[in-house]
Symmetry: C2
Subunit: 495 residues, 2 copies
């Protein structure tokens, strides 16, 4: 055998299994494109063709990848996990863009179609489309379906995969998740966990859809908004987002749905199994999250009333709660143009999105659990100055957090900030101003969606380079930065 | 004895020693006010009276504090160190403001006088004054004298005090400084170190002044600029800052002076003792600092040339090097309005100031050594994902950095970012826009001086509340955040 043949043989051996998984995923994904076809048939407003072509291309590619590797026996190893996860979002985003690109209404460029698809699958919800209210139902449905599938992927990722990979301190969660635990092979673990979470996700989505419908939306909007809210995605069928309905009851339905999406699905699982909702409050991360939401809502309400933006207190409370939750959970729904709220409020909410929701939820941002650890560590360092010789362990939920995890969270934070700064500078170089650049990167790396300044309502008007950088930003955020960065290191490819 | 008498007795016992030190410092400080009196005599352009009154008030207060406590025997303990350091900057800033407040030219409010004095002593160099070129020499001299004394204080703080207090991982430097080392008593250590550094600081200042004078400035400007540059302060006698001279030779003199100010004075000390300038390059922090300056200058030059801002390459290089050094070393001199440079350059330089110069120098920012540790830790976390079981120690200069120090640096970083975000939001609440607020906080917490937007050249026009927040920001930055925060904790006061 020649050297190159040996190399090829080794590569085949290592990556055939990744190719097989990806082929399978693509075939499953292709089936989802039949849903918009059904929607197009029901509403008869066009764009069926784009999805049928998309279906065949995706299915054929999946088959082509899967067929030659279907007999590969090797199990997925931890390290393959990084590759599968990154490719899952990258490849599926590309194929998800096909129907959007092919569609005649809207008439999207390759860049725009990809942006919208990445934004969908990463549950960011930043859009480059305008005139949503007049788009074909199939297109609208595809957008929220991408959210919903992305959300499912994120839950499996956060609950089953990232703790195994040890990304950013998430090994913390290893012991707390459903499914077989101490198995080092990824496949059975992912399969079991996915099954349990699948039922939960579908049931909760159905519950949210009923909620929206009962609150008075059309059935189509009810399903769409439920898909979008539970995935903390933020795509809406209307240019005015949820403000279109102009109904406090529908806002309440959204508040409940976003809350469900922002709490760990491992937590939902445990509450469901124990039939004890008090477990939410007993969990230190969920409790901290809820307290922060209440505190931020209080601050926002006070400023809104003091500035005279709203005169009616209940009105101010609901507007504040809705917007705090929407940005804080990184959903990105809007009922009013909060970006012109007075004083520090718009930036306050945007900075809140860096914290995001609970780990194991569909939210973006750094996650509440990491924020708690950062705060505890910061406080510990100040205490240490007063008591230099004291050993002060960092605890959470009564358990001591190992140093390894603390280090990982620190590393995560600093890499997050650094990556943010670099993308901020690149966006400035495209000619966007400081507020727009800063908020666009924050809104994408935290998977929120809308930013401030020129990207307050949509990202249609920004330069092409900026759109691609923001695609990267959405993927970095969604993949918890490390998962994507690690496959860019030479060490990863050295076996 | 009644309970309150016991409490008073304990308080007296504990704080009498702090009062004694502070009284002494005030008396020494009062003498420095005689220097502007001499300047006023020489130039005969007024404002002598303000300094004479300031001298007597400060001297009297110092005496009143010192006299009743002069026989107190107890030595300063580590914990007293925090209090003395914080009071040093706070109390001296207040007394330093007296002559500025009393002066008729300029006619400053209490807020403005305090701001200018804090900005001077913290070597920030943000000014609320305009029309500098027409101000009396005594006032101009007092501003740079505050810088120069602040710079001396910072060096003693960074080289002798903070490592003892263990602030933000600076215990790293414990073994590398001149003076007696393993003594837990602060006073002799500070005294010895201060003496050694004092000679060095005076000599290097004289060298810089000669440099400026040789380059063609007036003797008065030469001394002023040397005071300002070595302290990386940034106050200038001219509204146009160093751009007033419009001379590349003077810019070179400033470049050399700022470089001296940005390198650890412990390092200067070791080079002087070993008579081997190669030691600069052997030190990993100094080396990294120099490499970063060169890299940032290259990037800046390329953008300046590519955008046609400068056509002449040598011209672009010197403008780039000067401005990179000025903002990167947190000096804040300007030769041109770099805030309107194209693309990402203004923000790039401002973000660079977060890194700042070397620990043990007069610069602000987080310091290069912490940046190195953050980068190494970030990289280690990515490597750990590929090699989950490997033990990868963090090394610097061949030595393994203890976990304790790594934790302290992380704590420092997150507290720095958090404090930054809070002050950013408060500034927004005063009605300043995002760019102005963001850059004003960055320019003060990093002790740079000029910001972007409405604070690009001075801070005269911002609201009063903003000025006080920025005073706090300058002090927080200068005291490495922790030193100030720790005395706000109840645990600090519990003995
Ligand atoms: K979102
Ligand atoms: K400065």
């Amino acid at each position: 055998m020649s050297l190159s043949a040996i190399v090829r043989g080794r590569l085949n051996y290592y990556y055939a299994v990744v190719q097989r998984v990806l082929g399978l995923l693509l075939m499953i994904f292709s089936v989802s494109m039949l849903a918009p076809v059904v929607v197009a048939l029901i509403y008869g407003d066009g764009e069926m063709e784009a999805f049928i072509i998309g279906f065949f291309i995706t299915l054929a590619t999946g088959l082509a990848a899967w067929l030659p590797t279907r007999h590969v026996q090797r199990e997925l190893k931890i390290r393959d996990g990084f590759l599968v996860v990154v490719l899952f979002w990258m490849v599926l985003s590309l194929f998800g863009a096909i129907p959007l690109w092919l569609a005649t209404r809207p008439d999207m460029s390759f860049t725009d179609a990809t942006f919208e698809s990445v934004s969908g699958l990463t549950t960011t919800g930043a859009t480059v489309l305008t005139g949503l209210d007049t788009l074909p139902h199939a297109i609208l449905f595809w957008r929220v379906l991408l959210h919903w599938m992305g959300g499912m992927g994120i839950i499996v990722l956060a609950v089953a995969v990232l703790p195994m990979l040890g990304v950013g301190g998430m090994q913390l969660y290893r012991a707390e998740t459903p499914g077989p635990i101490k198995d080092s092979k990824l496949t059975p673990r992912i399969r079991e966990t996915a099954k349990a979470l699948w039922y939960l996700y579908v049931s909760l989505t159905a519950f949210c859809a009923l909620l929206f419908w009962a609150a008075g939306t059309t059935p189509f909007d009810a399903i769409s908004d439920a898909f979008s809210a539970i995935a903390t995605g933020g795509f809406s069928n209307h240019d005015l987002s949820l403000g279109y309905h102009d109904s406090p009851v529908i806002e309440l339905a959204a508040i409940v749905s976003m809350l469900i999406g922002a709490i760990s699905f491992g937590m939902h699982f445990s509450v469901w199994r124990s039939a004890n909702p008090l477990n939410y409050w007993r969990d230190s991360e969920t409790r901290t999250f809820l307290i922060m939401v209440v505190a931020a809502t209080a601050v926002t309400t006070i400023v809104l009333l003091a500035s005279g933006t709203y005169v009616d207190a209940p009105d101010a409370v609901i507007k504040a709660l809705f917007q705090v939750l929407s940005i804080g959970t990184t959903t990105g729904f809007t009922t009013t143009d909060y970006t012109i709220w007075p004083s520090f409020l718009p930036m306050f909410l945007l900075l809140g999105s860096f914290i995001g929701g609970c780990a194991g939820s569909t939210t973006g941002g750094m996650k509440v659990v990491r924020f708690i650890l950062l705060a505890k560590q910061g406080t510990r360092e100040i205490s240490r100055l007063v008591h230099p010789n004291a050993e002060i362990p960092i605890k959470m939920g009564g358990k001591v957090i190992p140093d390894r995890v603390v280090h990982a969270v620190w590393g995560f934070f600093s890499v997050y900030v650094t990556v943010f700064a670099v993308m901020f500078l690149i966006l400035l170089s495209t000619g966007l101003n400081e507020l727009t650049s800063f908020s666009a990167v924050a809104a994408t790396i935290n998977n929120v969606g809308p930013g401030l300044g020129a990207v307050a309502s949509n990202m249609a008007g920004i330069p092409k380079l900026a759109k691609w950088v923001l695609c990267m930003s959405m993927l970095l955020g969604r993949l918890e930065v490390f998962t994507l960065l690690v496959i860019l290191t030479p060490a990863f490819w050295r076996r």
